[in-house]
Symmetry: C2
Subunit: 166 residues, 2 copies
């Protein structure tokens, strides 16, 4: 049933073949490339209409895409990325770059995203600190964020045994 992408010259498809389910992010990839119409998504992805309908409804329900009526003689919907969807650009870029490095290898990238101003490929996306420099792994720590801290607050506010020192 699953269409396999392991021969596709697309680093995103190949990264997702390794990393998990792919339809959803591939729909988003195509939306970034300007695809808007159901028939165009269906043709480009070689996806069954059933599955595509479900995924588009899923992405629309989650506010990643919005369906816009572009019909002249009756309704015809096109799908646009919302702000939430456009904000996946970094994720798509990172997945593509990962696939470029590890699936195809340097010098064998199927696609390049270039900066028109320099004519050169976008540099690798990195996790940087506030000073704009890469953060060494040992300098990072995972801590509970506000949501988990709030959830734990009631327990923390219970009376606790007094410390021994006065």
């Amino acid at each position: 049933m699953r269409r396999r992408f392991d021969r596709e010259p697309c680093s995103i498809a190949r990264s997702l073949e390794i990393l998990g389910d792919w339809w959803t992010l591939l729909i988003i990839r195509d939306a970034f490339l300007g695809v808007r119409r159901f028939v165009d998504f269906a043709q480009r992805l070689g996806i069954s209409k059933n599955i595509l309908t479900r995924r588009l409804a899923h992405l629309t329900a989650h506010g990643v895409l919005v369906a816009v009526d572009a019909g002249v003689h009756g309704p015809r919907y096109e799908y646009e990325l919302t702000a939430k969807g456009k904000d996946l650009f970094t994720a798509i870029t990172v997945l593509r770059q990962w696939g470029d490095r590890w699936v195809f290898g340097p010098g064998h990238e199927p696609l390049l995203v270039i900066d028109r101003r320099t004519g050169r490929p976008l540099p690798r996306v990195r996790v940087l600190g506030e000073d704009g420099q890469p953060v060494p792994r040992e300098a990072m720590a995972v801590v509970p964020g506000p949501r988990l801290s709030a959830a734990r607050a009631p327990a923390a506010s219970k009376p606790r045994r007094r410390a021994r020192a006065s």
Copy 2:
């Protein structure tokens, strides 16, 4: 059959609930958090042993994890991220930050990754140009990379109709 993550206080889980399959990247997330043993992955993820076995084998076959025999009284395997696996840190970080912004919202992040040197959360990962500044969308262009160009070379080298001008 699918365990749903839509109530989990983890932005990565929630992003993947929206974006597609999740087990694979959640195994990698846990590996980044120091999980190494089969039983620990199984317990943390609440995943069936069958599925976990399959996914670990998949990730090992793709060189994302490596199985290391850590047994004293007979073999016992632990799973470590390879260089290829560690290089997913940026992808995991971007997915977490996306979920932080769009699923939980600012001020409600379940976890924060901080820079110990400043005590503050890592800044948002961005696609930057060679000058270290964000690249405007209109300055980006998608072009065929070396792999696609090479694949097209034989066709391009066929004799073509001569241009009209001499």
